[in-house]
């Protein structure tokens, strides 16, 4: 347990307290600000639609992308990962710790953002149900995205670009055009989980069982793949 706590501690301290964290906090606050503006303007927007457009489509994947690719990828890039890799610890422990920290930080920003945004949007009982359903769903989504992005960051140094392409092209465009691609969409899984709690407010391309299956594949597969790749990760010398 000491190993895990140490890994979590050093990862957490490496990720928070930097300028990027401030920018991510601002990104998480953005939907709240927009909701406030809408309410001040006398509007009562559809809470579920607004939460989907702002939090599920933008804030959640982008924040998870930054934390997920930085948790281990940044250490591999700057060379500090060597101090973890030259220890008698299983690579699986390193990857799990990184995924947990990235997921916790993402959830810590996104869940309050979803909750406060939804509550400000109003919309009566239906709006409240949509908000209370999507909040735990984005927490699960934080874990899924974190597992996926940490794994990608071990495989390639271009994890940020690849993650962005996945979020924007695959989830943002292709999933809307080609229904079959939704089976590999974390966003659809998040909507699926929200739909379990509030079926009238949330619609997903995935059934609940499919969402659970995708979640298991992403988390277990991502961690296993990350650990496997980290075990054969080579650190080049200076000459």
């Amino acid at each position: 347990m000491t190993i895990f706590i140490t890994l979590v501690d050093v990862t957490l301290r490496g990720l928070v307290g930097r300028r990027r964290t401030v920018l991510l906090v601002l990104l998480a606050v953005l939907p709240i600000g927009l909701a406030l503006l809408a309410r001040l303007g006398g509007e009562t927007p559809d809470a579920a639609a607004a939460l989907d457009a702002l939090v599920v489509r933008i804030v959640l994947p982008l924040i998870a992308l930054v934390f997920g690719t930085a948790a281990l990828g940044a250490e591999i890039e700057d060379g500090t990962a060597v101090y973890l890799l030259t220890k008698p610890i299983a690579r699986l422990h390193i990857v799990v710790a990184k995924v947990v920290v990235a997921a916790l930080l993402t959830a810590a920003l996104v869940a309050p953002s979803a909750l406060v945004t939804g509550l400000l949007m109003g919309g009566g009982d239906e709006g409240l149900a949509a908000t209370l359903a999507v909040t735990p769903a984005v927490i699960i989504g934080s874990l899924l995205y974190a597992a996926a992005f940490v794994a990608i960051s071990v495989i390639t140094t271009r994890a940020l670009v690849i993650g962005l392409v996945y979020v924007v092209i695959w989830e943002g465009i292709l999933a809307g055009i080609l229904v079959g691609t939704r089976i590999f969409s974390i966003r659809e899984a998040v909507l699926g989980f929200a739909g379990v709690l509030a079926p009238d407010a949330w619609e997903s391309g995935l059934e609940a069982a499919q969402a659970v299956a995708l979640a298991l594949v992403v988390v277990i597969g991502g961690i296993a793949l990350g650990a496997r790749r980290l075990a054969v990760h080579e650190v080049r010398g200076g000459d």
């Binding site: 190993i3 050093v10 500090t80 220890k87 008698p88 610890i89 080049r236 010398g237 200076g238």
Partner: protein
């Protein structure tokens, strides 16, 4: 190079490592036991690649490599016995020196990480800055923090990549004494350097590596003699180059002279005899010496010579 009877702590058998078409380490074999060994070579020689393979961070492309009798690649349990000080400067800048050493101690599963970290910090003489973030450290302090992290579990095998980078002379002396003391306790210490004097002061044994190949290995004094006794070329400017050339060619230490672009070039077999006798030879020939300069005294040319031997 390992002691007789004892199993070598480090053993390489025809080890090579290439990146695509580029050969970084080329068919190297040696074995090391307890003591300090210097891995000497110019920048780009393959020293870091070799150390990274020994540290299990790179897979050898060919050959057999064992550390403590076990393969280093994909063998995390080996890190209980190995300490590595990488060349790259990056350390977790947000941690203090003490926290960095303690992190290493905890990840080594030591029973009392705080005590081990305090001991390591004291060993590298970093107590005064132990509770400052590493981000505020000088290069030399950062280097000592890295060494503290590598020593914290008291490894039997210590691999250090250019460990003296950024250290001032006092810190270097302290570190040399520290590493010598650790070697005297029976540990195997392998450190890389491109500075001859550093290796001379610390290492009993030396491995000279150039362009990925092992150019020479063995006792430092023998290697030093090989380096000194190699053919040297001197460029000489005098009041009468032609007369001096005629006088020099008669000297046993000189095996060739030529006049090129108005300069006298002397090729010398015995560095010591030539430099000791040059002034006398010039005086006898009634020639004034204006300039005497070795043309190939760079470490690079020394290494190239050793490889060609």
């Amino acid at each position: 190079m390992s002691g007789q009877g004892a199993a070598p702590a480090i053993e390489l058998d025809h080890v090579s490592r290439w990146y695509g078409n580029v050969v970084a380490v080329n068919d190297i074999s040696f074995s090391l036991g307890a003591g300090v060994t210097g891995l000497l070579g110019p920048n780009g020689a393959g020293k870091s690649t070799l150390l990274h393979m020994l540290a299990g961070l790179l897979r050898p492309s060919a050959g057999r490599l064992t550390v403590g009798g076990e393969p280093a690649w994909r063998n995390p349990s080996l890190y209980r016995r190995i300490g590595l000080v990488p060349e790259r400067e990056a350390v977790h800048a947000f941690l203090t020196g003490f926290e960095f050493a303690r992190m290493n101690a905890r990840l080594q599963r030591l029973p009392d990480p705080d005590a081990a970290a305090a001991r390591a910090i004291r060993t590298v003489d970093l107590e005064s800055a132990a509770h400052r973030p590493i981000g505020t450290y000088s290069k030399g302090m950062r280097q000592r923090a890295k060494i503290a992290g590598a020593l914290v579990h008291e490894p039997t095998i210590l691999l250090l990549d250019e460990p003296f980078n950024g250290m001032d002379p006092r810190q270097r002396l302290h570190m040399i004494a520290l590493l010598r003391g650790m070697a005297a306790e029976g540990r195997t210490i392998l450190f890389s350097s491109h500075i001859l004097e550093e290796v001379e002061r610390l290492a009993d044994e030396v491995l000279v590596i150039h362009a990925g190949r092992l150019a020479a290995s063995g006792d430092f004094r023998q290697i030093r003699r090989l380096m000194t006794d190699r053919p040297h070329t001197f460029r000489i400017r005098s009041s009468d180059d032609r007369a001096l050339g005629a006088a020099l060619v008669a000297q046993p230490a000189v095996f060739g002279v030529e006049l090129t672009d108005g300069r006298l070039i002397a090729r010398v077999g015995d560095y010591g005899a030539f430099t000791a006798g040059l002034a006398t030879t010039a005086k006898r020939a009634a020639v004034s010496l204006y300039e005497v300069a070795p043309t190939d005294d760079s470490l690079e040319s020394v290494f190239a010579y050793l490889v060609r031997r």
